[in-house]
């Protein structure tokens, strides 16, 4: 097992912490290159580069990153809404990309929840229609009457009570939080094993957000549902996810148990992100500048070396010429940074 590896040993990207049991989802060397037309020239935008990770049964994994990090692209590829340029997606060991389109069986096992609860429900149909449809399409119920009963149960499971009354309402009659709950009920209708949630709470108010996070947590615990939680909010990631993966410019730069990643961030980018978050305990009317630069990464014709080099406070010569590899720094903790290479004496300068 990888836990036996000595600290600070380069680990191949595919050897991501593999426990004895087979993970539910394995993402292997996923690459996504978009072709962007600029006049007559076609440019290559590298949205994801060799992304590999696993999600175990009943595990919640957060994929965090700023805009342009590739987190939503990854979710859309895994949901089979977009085909990747290369790479494998294994569900229970079987490569789902081998089939040209997603099968009904795949859709029954992997469901998605989107960010915008206002855009993901059809305004001309009732809430009940949205939840009944997958039940009927997947032949999970014998009759419409049975579908109605099941819909009521599902709506009540996600906290929309009384279920039969909510089922008759239209999306516009619900608040943002209620709509997101309805979208969750729809995703649950087919009893999936994995739910991909793309920023499911970022459009919700603070007092409502925790309720939806708690619901996802309960579903994980009660039903053994696995979650891939895509978010830019590190606080929600820590709250919901067992493990957190940090993406930068389409590269996985750090992963590990959420608490460890947040308490002892290893990658200079993770350190910068965490130090930039607002902290009410520093209340006082003055904001200190971040300890590192902002700036969008170059996704078109990326420079050789580390994608974060231009913004990194710990940049050195090697970072500009050579792409860093993954290093295992503790059990379950991977970091893609030259600072952790064998023989490197430097350590990050940013206090976390």
């Amino acid at each position: 097992m990888s836990e036996n590896l000595a600290q600070v040993t380069p680990a191949p990207a595919s050897a991501i912490v593999s426990p004895a049991e087979q993970p539910l989802l394995q993402v292997q060397d996923l690459n996504m290159v978009f072709h962007v037309r600029d006049g007559l020239k076609v440019q290559h935008l590298h949205a994801l580069t060799n992304l590999s990770f696993d999600v175990r049964r009943g595990e919640a994994v957060a994929l965090v990153g700023e805009s342009g990090s590739g987190k939503s692209t990854a979710a859309r590829i895994i949901a089979r809404l977009t085909a990747p340029t290369s790479g494998k997606i294994l569900l229970d060991g079987e490569n789902v990309l081998a089939r040209r389109r997603a099968t009904l069986d795949f859709r029954a096992r992997v469901q998605m929840i989107f960010q915008d609860p206002f855009g993901s429900l059809n305004p001309v149909h009732t809430v009940g229609y949205h939840v009944e449809r997958p039940l009927l399409r997947h032949a999970l119920v014998g009759s419409r009457a049975e579908a109605k009963v099941r819909t009521k149960e599902l709506l009540e499971r996600v906290g929309l009570t009384p279920g039969n009354e909510v089922a008759n309402r239209y999306p516009h009659e619900l608040s943002g939080g209620q709509r997101q709950r309805a979208a969750i009920a729809r995703a649950l209708a087919v009893s999936p094993e994995l739910v991909l949630a793309d920023e499911p709470t970022s459009m919700l108010d603070a007092s409502i957000r925790v309720g939806v996070l708690n619901l996802l947590r309960e579903l994980k615990e009660d039903r053994g549902l696995a979650l891939l939680f895509i978010t830019h909010d590190l606080a929600s990631a820590r709250y919901l996810a067992d493990r957190t993966l940090v993406l930068y410019a389409g590269h996985l730069c750090e992963s590990g148990p959420s608490g460890q990643v947040m308490d002892e961030p290893a990658h200079p980018y993770t350190r910068l992100l965490l130090s930039a978050l607002p902290d009410p305990r520093r209340a006082g009317g003055v904001i200190e500048p971040p300890r590192g630069k902002s700036g969008a990464p170059r996704l078109i014709d990326p420079a050789p070396g580390c994608a974060f080099a231009d913004r990194c406070p710990d940049v050195h010569d090697r970072c500009r010429s050579e792409s860093p590899t993954m290093h295992l720094i503790a059990p379950g903790r991977l970091v893609r940074c030259h600072l952790y290479a064998a023989g490197s004496t430097q350590r990050p300068t940013l206090p976390s």
């Binding site: 409502i208 925790v210 006082g284 200190e288």
Partner: protein
């Protein structure tokens, strides 16, 4: 100057019992209900609230920029002692931008996409001041440099700049006429956290240098508490609590503020389980009687649905509108 209250700086803006109503065919909806607060010169004041709390409406009402069917139906907005609601067009024109400027949420929408940012900056200067176009351009260049953008960027179009740079251009524009107060409505909500901190740090620095006051409107309570010195928390159009930021963090008084603070996960600490606030937002067409928060309040008691709480002083600059703190004392009083 009419009044100068208590401590340090003189009073700049005083909002008194401000009420805003939306006149709809189904009846009038009161979205801002008797809101009062004061901003002193150079102060950084925050107005926090969730969607529908009326925070942006208050900001727009101060500038008298409400769009129909929204109307100011009561109260006063005193700018250095004079009521903005009595201003004629000429005084209003001088008041907007020269005295109080506005930075909106989406810099992408605030800038005209087909005009260079240099021209847009010059427009602001030329519209309000008697200067030549050449002088205006010089001013525009120094404004850009003030927000750390190379003046060579004057010829750039908005789409050629990153989101953070565009927001900085909007801030430069807001500072063009050296206003005494800058209203910022969710200025960094669409930006990544590192850019957000860069921009707010820059505003902190400019504020120290130029001495303007800030009214920050946002739903992001953690950000507001770090950035502002005095904070007002709105719930369903009413002020729930008004307090120095430090006190709001350490000793929030209103049950809504307490519950709101307790529903924000902290990335720096392991949290077992947060509660959130049960129930849903108030339907302002049919607001609850008495305290508007009582149906969701964990500490509600018999009088809450009947008596409307008034803002009660609980300490220096600290007020809360909750019957727990009013006289005659409720059954479960605490101080």
């Amino acid at each position: 100057m009419t009044v100068s209250i208590t401590t340090v700086a003189p009073e700049l803006l005083r909002v008194e019992d401000l009420a805003v109503e939306y006149l709809t065919p189904d009846g009038d909806v009161r979205v801002v209900d008797d809101v009062s607060f004061t901003i002193r010169e150079g102060e950084c004041f925050g107005l926090a609230g969730e969607s529908g709390s009326g925070k942006s409406t208050v900001a727009m009402a101060i500038l008298r920029l409400l769009k129909p069917p929204g109307v100011i139906s009561g109260g006063r907005v005193l700018w250095r002692g004079e009521d903005v609601l009595d201003f004629d067009d000429a005084s209003l024109r001088a008041f907007r931008w020269r005295e109080v400027s506005l930075v909106m949420q989406s810099a992408m929408n605030a800038l005209n996409p087909v005009i260079t940012i240099g021209e847009q900056l010059c427009d602001v200067i030329l519209a309000h001041e008697a200067v030549t176009p050449v002088q205006a351009l010089e001013r525009a260049a120094s404004l850009l440099e003030l927000v750390n953008i190379d003046s060579g960027r004057l010829k750039s179009f908005p789409h050629e700049l990153s989101g953070g740079m565009r927001q900085r251009v909007v801030i430069a524009m807001a500072l063009a006429l050296s206003p005494r107060l800058m209203i910022m409505d969710e200025p960094t909500t669409a930006l990544d956290v590192v850019v957000q901190r860069e921009i707010l740090a820059q505003i902190s620095e400019l504020r120290a240098k130029l001495g303007f006051a800030v009214l920050l409107v946002t739903h992001d309570l953690s950000l507001m508490l770090e950035f502002c010195t005095q904070v007002g928390v709105l719930y369903a159009g009413r002020l729930a609590e008004l307090a120095p930021a430090r006190e709001l963090v350490t000793a929030p008084k209103h049950p809504y503020t307490q519950a709101l603070l307790a529903s924000i996960p902290d990335p720096r600490r392991a949290v077992v389980r947060l509660q959130g606030i049960p129930g849903i937002h108030v339907d302002l067409r049919r607001p609850p009687e008495g305290c508007r928060f009582h149906p969701r309040c964990p500490r509600a008691f018999d009088r809450c649905p009947e008596v409307r709480p008034e803002l009660t002083p609980l300490g220096p600059d600290h007020l809360a509108s909750c019957l727990l703190y009013s006289t005659p004392p409720a059954t479960t009083v605490q101080s």
